[in-house]
Amino acid sequence: MSHELRTPMNSVLGFTEMLADGLYGPLPERAMKALERVQSNGKHLLGLINDVLDLSKIEAGQLTLALEDYALGQVVQTVKSTAELLAKAKGIELTATVQDGVPIGRGDERRLTQVLLNLVGNAIKFIDKGSVDISACALDGSFVVAVKDTGPGIAEEDRRKIFEEFQQVDNSSTRQKGGTGLGLTISKRIVEMHGGRIEVESVVGEGSTFRIVVPVQAKEEREAA
């Protein structure tokens, strides 16, 4: 199924990029503006396709974790370097600290990286200024990775809702802020498959902290809760 959905997207995005790059000659300014719309919506659609495919795989029980040994510091570093450009573009300070001497973990490194990147990406997306701080440590047999931001915060009644499908606090913000509205749902499921959980604390007007708690040694949980 993924092949069938992504193949046409290759045409849409490929030809659009080549048109925008002037491969077929210069375009009038208004056409260029329209093309930019096609391009950004095309990318948004691809993000949706990828997320919907991920989620449907999780729900069908077809997503299995590739458990392997990983270094938590490496996961944090990968996420930090991936998100750095995004943060810099918005003038947001991104910092990361990992406790010395954390043990080697066992889990699906690629998926855990995806989860942390989702949380950090959200934080950067939803704050306009200030900082995002990633901190990671080991505590009582679990890794605790916190993403703290100085953003607008999330009201108490919205905190449960944000983990549901296609629910951003303000649905009109999907267009404005980007994102598919599925990232947190997928993240929560992946963490639960590792036998862990995601928590959120927030004070409106001060900021939010998302915390991933996963066993250092994950065993695959068959049923995502």
């Binding site: 993924s2 046409p8 290759n10 045409s11 030809f15 080549m18 491969l23 590739a66």
Partner: protein
């Protein structure tokens, strides 16, 4: 000398993207529509580089790659897998088959070109 790139790809739209892209930088593009034709053209034309789709009629991209890499006359030709299999392990599988590089679909034409130029500067 003009670079010659062989594209093994069964979808016309995707061939057209690569054709236009290669055209823009003055590379000559050879095209095969299925795996078996890809192997024949690689043998006959000895291109400078091969772009290999994986899901192909007649013979899949893994098999074509294995055969090319087992041929002492052809094994030196760099092969870049271009595939929409983003499942974990797909990239590893193309490497095990002998591919030298990997680009996931949907690809950005500009990034594909950069990847090609890594192998044929």
């Amino acid at each position: 000398m003009t670079r010659r790139i062989l594209l093994v790809e069964d979808t016309e739209d995707n061939r057209e993207i690569v054709r236009d892209l290669m055209d823009s930088v003055g590379y000559k593009l050879l095209e095969a529509h299925d795996g078996a034709a890809g192997l024949t053209m690689a043998t006959e034309h000895r291109p400078d580089l091969i772009l290999m789709d994986i899901q192909l009629p007649v013979m899949d991209g893994y098999e074509v790659t294995r055969r090319i890499k087992a041929d002492p006359a052809l094994w030196h030709i760099p092969i870049i897998a271009v595939t929409s299999y983003v499942l974990s392990g797909a990239e590893e599988k193309t490497r095990q088959a002998g591919c030298d590089g990997y680009v996931a679909k949907p690809f950005s034409p500009c990034q594909l070109l950069a990847k090609i130029n890594q192998f044929v500067p």
